[in-house]
């Protein structure tokens, strides 16, 4: 949302306020049962509001365009050891970075464009709500973290892409997952882990378990960190037993996203 036409001026003119009063009155006179906000729409609006409203004190100026760093191409190698901070923690992350290093050697073709396909209604609705939350975070939080996923060689992630969006101030985030294999919920689930530079990096923060419904080529999954995250520097999706685990063996890492 940018451009002058989208601006809400600081001062409403009295003309506009009066028109607003009359419009509200006209609407009240003619409202019917049809005018109830559809529940699905209401839930999405609420989900977005609950992200935006707590961010209010740190809002960017109204007409500011939030410029995000370009998302690297999916086929780009993962460079997790690029920054000094990452290098310092290299020894601690051990197995996670070994998986990341494998990615750097793993060449693959460009990702195929994918489309959202029909999902079961509840999953589709939750994904749509998460998508709106993601858009809202990107629109209002200038300090947002947005990183592209890099798939590992795990069979679940062949051709997978997308990104992860995380707001430290809101402690909320959304994963966008494209082409990640659907999971058999009776046998296994995906689990997100958040590496927090302010915590003991041997123990990443549990970001919750989630499913990719059959037939879904693009899903949006909300991130609900179990504990506060001071400074997220890497996100990892693992394959775990149903319900997830407290400490991952890190045997199967599907996706990684590192600053």
């Amino acid at each position: 949302m940018s451009g002058k036409e989208n601006e809400v001026p600081d001062i409403a003119t009295r003309d506009e306020l009066l028109i607003g009063e009359i419009t509200a009155a006209l609407a009240a006179e003619s409202m019917s049962a049809q005018d109830a906000l559809p529940p699905g729409v209401a839930e999405r609006v609420i989900a977005a509001g609950e992200v935006i409203v707590p961010l209010k004190p740190t809002f960017a100026p109204y007409n500011t365009v939030v410029v995000l760093p370009p998302v690297p191409p999916v086929s780009a190698p993962l460079t997790v050891a690029a920054s000094p901070r990452t290098r310092r923690s290299f020894a601690v992350w051990g197995g996670w970075l070994a998986a990341a290093a494998m990615l750097a050697l793993w060449a693959r073709g460009p990702a195929k464009p994918s489309a959202v396909v029909a999902m079961v209604p509840s999953a589709a609705s939750a994904s749509a709500a998460a998508s709106w939350v993601r858009d809202s975070l990107l629109a209002v939080d200038s300090a947002i973290t947005r990183i592209a996923w890099a798939p590992t060689a795990d069979s679940t992630a062949i051709g997978a892409s997308g990104d992860v969006v995380w707001s430290t101030s809101a402690q909320r985030g959304v994963m966008r997952l494209i082409g990640l294999k659907s999971n058999d919920t009776r046998r296994w689930q995906y689990q997100l882990w958040i590496f927090d530079k302010t915590r003991d990096q041997r123990y990443p923060v549990d970001g919750g378990v989630f499913d990719v419904p059959p037939g879904a080529t693009e899903v949006f999954v909300p991130i609900n960190a179990r504990v506060p995250v001071g400074g997220a520097v890497m996100f990892a999706v693992t394959v775990e037993a149903p319900g997830g685990v407290v400490v991952s063996t890190r045997e199967r890492v599907a996706l990684l996203a590192a600053l």
Partner: protein
């Protein structure tokens, strides 16, 4: 709607618990406007999202002494809908306000604020049918003056005149309760070409 405690000040302070209440209170008002202005359901859903994002972001600009909360919400909604209409129809000639619609000296008192929407409804009921119809088409349905002229088979100048006079009458009645009585008496004066 007008008598309930305002929610926007709570939104402005970052109270996320007010979000659900705000959607419950104003969802129908916004949806009733949005679905009339939007060409299809998908567009309406997008518009609702944009309107509420506007509300979340601009809640601090609401001044309870200047308008009712419902009126302010309707104003924000209308601004957003006009923006969207202009984006859809770059050349649209939407005239939300007559050029000579002047409110230079109206400063509503706090006493009058709480029941302003109710008085607006009363004022609208007192308007001549043609004025009310054209105000509805313009404000509720987002029709341009040209579109209203064609839809009602009325000369464009008459449409503009009805809308201008309807707004002026409504304004006068909102500001001066006694004018509600005068409005009925003066109705016959409003039938111009």
């Amino acid at each position: 709607m007008s008598s309930a405690a305002p929610l926007l000040p709570r939104i402005a302070t970052g109270d996320e618990h007010a979000v659900r209440e705000c959607v419950a209170r104003y969802g129908a008002l916004i949806w009733s406007l949005v679905r009339r202005w939007s060409p299809d359901a998908r567009d309406a859903e997008d518009a609702v999202q944009e309107v509420f994002v506007d509300l979340w972001r601009s809640a601090a600009r609401y001044e309870p002494t200047r308008s009712t909360e419902a009126g302010w919400v309707a104003m924000v909604t209308r601004r957003r809908l006009i923006d969207r209409l202009r984006r859809r129809q770059r050349a649209v000639e939407l005239e939300p306000l007559p050029d000579d619609f002047d409110l230079a000296h109206d400063e509503p008192s706090d006493d009058a604020r709480d029941d302003r929407v109710e008085r607006a409804r009363a004022a609208l009921r007192a308007l001549p049918e043609a004025q009310r119809t054209m105000l509805e088409l313009s404000l509720l349905h987002g029709r341009t003056h040209d579109e209203i002229a064609k839809a009602t088979n009325t000369p464009l100048g008459t449409v503009k005149s009805h809308i201008r006079r309807g707004l002026q009458r409504a304004r006068a009645m909102l500001l001066h309760t006694n004018d509600l009585h005068h409005a009925s008496d003066a109705t016959n004066e409003e039938h111009e070409s």
